[in-house]
Symmetry: C4
Subunit: 356 residues, 4 copies
């Protein structure tokens, strides 16, 4: 058990280090968000300073439709990252997602590395657990885990591709939907079902809706490849078969734009578009396809790692500035209007959406 | 106020200098005019010297469907450019657009830099004002500004993208349509509504038609990027945020071919296709999509800067020669016939036109 | 007049020299024949040595559906080329086209350079005249010109693009259809209407059919660009405007595959697919689109220039071998079957054919 | 006759040597399997170790839907390869195809090089004969040839493209369908009709069905080009015409994905998708298009040549691991489910399937 614990810690450390580089990006697959082209409005009846970028997500109003997506927890370094980013979320009015609380469950002494309420008292804070871990826990245990960090909601993450590549990863994915159904029904906070870089399909969305899920996070393909992360770790560990499998699955997944487009008609209350969101234009494009807000993981981490708090702030400034520009130049006074802004989709994106 | 004045003067000087290079072109977006392919007519029943390239625009007959598009005014250099190009317009029978008369309005002593009637007594001369500036002026003030230069019509330019990137640029774009409606109704000369490099959409076109506008200038994407111009200025001024926003919006806009295609069915009397027109083939393609004439800004300036009056003349010779060749080889005796010449559109252009 | 005569001679010499290189090929346009993909027949009920490649064209049976297309005449060098290629045509059972007989008309002493009957007594020999030249001649004069060389038919060539670029080229293209109508009606031999590298459209085809034309030669875009040839000559003559126009029109024209596809449904008796035919696969593809036979000009000249008679023979051997392979592997016992062989068209070719 | 014999031996040796390199791959044509993109299932209700990859083919259950496709026989080297790969097939539960038994028929003393039953007693073993050779043999002779190696079925291979290029190759392909009809009717074991790298079309499939064929192997384009193999041999033999024809036909054929898609609706019991299968993802994609199993020839040989038995085992391990991953991540518990897994086809593949 102590081995498992230190294993988790080491993996978390590996993840942060690898994700500070660009070696874990998708290779030959993009989000396809670049194929969403807004039709310029030359005559917007708008004041640039009076645009309303706010959205209400999971009962809380965000000043801008941005969620800092789940990344870390469990180590000192993780604690620092969580607190820095949560503080920015509080100041800027973004949502904030904690990394998987599995470490916190296994080693309760790491709970403090997840505590961000001190710096983010009013922020929308999202807890996080893998569906396989959640399956093994009682609802009370989960409630407890969330209570300790005063989370507003729980992200249940799905990551079968990554697990398959990870040496010693989970192999039993049965009962996932039942677990989600139970938590949606019994948990005191709302549940967001979230992928981690391979996207949620229309078919999975339909199954989720059938058990009452109303919040999803696409975490689609085109940004960080979690398969890539585990492939890098397999490479370092000289595990040739895992590495080979990882190379083959590196680009597996549904592009983020496609995942948003697939989920949009299914009646979800919240669709967070995560996966490869790098700019404010990406945020705008995801919203135009039907997202409620956009989630950003690795680009935020990179900005923080490279430039500290100021670097992260500058990154988010740029994202917001671009988002507002896209709103103004598409004639959208607020996020609801942006969702209906005229746009032209490229043929690759249409091919996906027509068939899927 | 004197600062504002010298600021305008400096900006104008910067613009001319930057636009003599190709660093301010769109990067990854073209006009899509190259996707208009004429179907060769091997058996035209035509004499190459009897083709009629003339068009009537805004009540005046142009010998060729070419407008030298709005560029400058307000400085000595600007005066020289205006006079050289206006003289060519007179000799060749083109239309001629003056640059924004804002400078002339703010510093009346610069009025002379806009006066081209001496060299262009019969030319179709177009005045120019930004919609935001026009909003702040009475109709009489505008009439006065136009009267001083004996303009045949007023171009009201729209440029929200550029303003957003420009440090200290306009941020209040409200009331644009009302301003245009007022001027269309009350001004003594006709009004042309003109973009400056991002294009006019079908939706904007419809709004313009609804307040009585009958003349438009697409000034679409694919040629000069005004966002690029301001980005270069931001770079020189070490304004990192403005520069970053500019980089993100560099290619924003509706390709010229798309803008023409969108506006063609809306019943405008005049559609000037400006934005990235570089050759006589481009002129012909724009007309085949529904334009009345084509506007050329920076390529004319570049020819003048690089080769003086002779260089500019040679440039226009080449444009006309190509236009006539395209007419002959598509079996078009005149511009009206060219508008209906058989042609094949590439798939990217069709994708835009089908969806927009 | 003697100047005109030596001018023609010089031009013919220039043409042969330039066409021995690849500098006069289209640059960014292909024949689109490469987008015709046969569907392999793994089980052809055929003997490779029993395939029938013969076709009857203009009343004569060719052993293979190949015409050596019009190239030259008027100089000693031209005479040599004509005789070498005509001898091969006779031996191999191909059709053979003479170059424009304008030189022979202007300088009757050059008639001998067109005489190929000595070496090609039974070959299908095609005379050649530009439509503009033919317009100025009486039907008797034309008959006479053809009689001297014992031609089986007359190719009337159309080449407005080339003429526009050629300094001193024709500019009056009126009356072309009338001229053709007269010759079709009154001439003792059949008339083939032929382009020279820009292709014949469906619309031109319809006009030709309306005056009784039943034989055409596409000579479409993608092979030799005659505009390019004249552009190279303008370059050598330091004629900058002609050169610039030539650069702009270099790739003008209808790809050969498109021209064949456009003409196929119009009820012509003969469609010779010329323009960029380089291989036996190209011959097969053109036939599958509806051609009766394929014409080859410059590739034959190049083979002869580079390798003499043996080189030319080897070239045609390869073409025939490939054609027979394509027939066998598409399950086609003869040319009529090949015309119906299953095939898949690429999207660029379909785009052209759908719209045109 | 002894010459013919040693010729066959030499050819077999050449084949193995050339196929150990990548110089005999298709150049500008792929299998198009890469255009089959599975739609990720983030929530598969599956255990990775409980996936059922087995299929029943030709009456025998394979543990995984993999057939080691026909390659060799007739030489000592061939015997070694056959035994090594057959042993792996037995251990792993794959099908195993022997190379053409022509050598064994011509030189009965080479029969031993085809005997694999000692190492593969329960394996699905496929005999192999070219349709042209089979035509010349009585059904009894064929039965005899199969009996000697205790084959479960006979692959009749079709390879007209290769024969055309091969100096001295077959030229008479008549009577193929009759030969197949006879063997299907009279032979004691089932017949699989198999191409060798150019694919089987829908039209050939229909003809095969009409004479009672129920098993096919696509052996489509995009993997090993047998034309390429013979072109390399022609090159070595300084046979310029054969080499030129080979270069022209190098990429001839129907991409494997297209062949599978064409055959899927025709009611075959077995469709083995061979030709360019390199990975487990390829196996999965072929099955999703309708294949029963996938055949692998040269990649298996290469793995064996480069890494011996261990190399081959590692190669197949990787293939199986990827196949299982694709099954799990597309939510497919077994091969039947995989055949119906949601997927998106790229436009090139759709173009082929729509037209063919
Ligand atoms: C360092 C790092 C750690 C992550 N850890 C988690 C996690 O614990 N739980 C989770 O749901 N997603 C996790 N993710 C996935 C992200 O939330 C996100 O879905 C994915 O990275 C795609 O977004 P991106 O392209 O913006 O990075 C992690 C991502 C990164 C970069
Ligand atoms: C140096 C320069 C100055 C310009 N100034 C104005 C202006 O004052 N008013 C205006 O309506 N457009 C102005 N424009 C925009 C042009 O009229 C035109 O819409 C745009 O440059 C696209 O055309 P092009 O690609 O041919 O340059 C200017 C363009 C240039 C190059
Ligand atoms: C050297 C040369 C001379 C030619 N002269 C004539 C001519 O006199 N009359 C004519 O109809 N076409 C002429 N052509 C055009 C060819 O007949 C043919 O239409 C064109 O070259 C396209 O075929 P290719 O791509 O096989 O060269 C000539 C072509 C070449 C290469
Ligand atoms: C070395 C070698 C020898 C082959 N010999 C035969 C053969 O005798 N009979 C046959 O039907 N196919 C033969 N093939 C063709 C293969 O069975 C297969 O159809 C083709 O190579 C395409 O599969 P691949 O891309 O996996 O190599 C041979 C292939 C190779 C590489």
């Amino acid at each position: 058990m102590s081995e498992t614990r230190s294993t988790i810690g080491q993996r978390k450390a590996d993840h942060l280090a690898l994700c500070a580089t660009d070696e874990v990006a998708f290779r030959n697959k993009t989000t396809l968000l670049e194929q969403v082209r807004f039709v310029h409005d030359a005559l917007p009846d708008l004041h640039a300073d009076a645009l309303d970028t706010s959205v209400v997500i999971l009962g809380k109003r965000l000043r801008a439709p941005i969620v800092i997506a789940a990344m870390t927890g469990g180590t000192e370094e993780a604690a620092r990252v969580n607190r820095e980013l949560a503080r920015i979320a509080e100041e800027r009015g973004y949502g904030f997602g904690l990394g998987s609380q599995r470490a916190m469950h296994v080693r309760t002494e790491t709970a403090g590395t997840y505590e961000v309420r001190e710096v983010a008292p009013t922020t929308l804070v999202l807890g996080n657990l893998g569906v396989v871990q959640a399956r093994a826990m009682s609802t009370n245990e989960v409630d407890d885990l969330l209570g300790k960090i005063a989370a507003d909601a729980l992200c249940i993450h799905l990551n079968p591709a990554m697990e398959l590549v990870q040496p010693g990863g989970d192999r039993d994915f049965t009962g996932g939907l039942d677990t989600i159904a139970r938590l949606v029904r019994d948990l005191r906070v709302p549940v967001v079902v979230k992928e981690t870089g391979c996207g949620i399909s229309g078919s999975v969305g339909t199954r989720l809706r059938s058990v009452g899920v109303t919040h999803v996070d696409t975490s689609g393909a085109g940004g960080t490849s979690w398969v890539a992360v585990e492939t890098k770790r397999a490479e370092a560990a000289h595990d040739a078969p895992a590495r080979a499998l990882g190379e083959a699955l590196w680009d597996w997944g549904i592009p983020t734009a496609v995942s948003v487009g697939m989920l949009a008609p299914l009646g979800f209350e919240t669709i967070v578009a995560t996966g490869g969101i790098m700019t404010g234009l990406d945020v705008a494009r995801a919203i135009a396809l039907g997202a409620s807000a956009a989630g950003i993981a690795r680009p935020a981490l990179k900005a923080l790692t490279a430039g500290g708090r100021d670097g992260a702030l500058a990154f988010f400034d740029a994202v917001e500035r671009e988002l507002r520009a896209a709103m103004l130049l598409s004639g959208s006074a607020n996020v609801a209007a942006l969702r209906k802004a005229p746009r032209v989709l490229g043929s690759e994106l249409r091919t996906w959406l027509d068939q899927a």
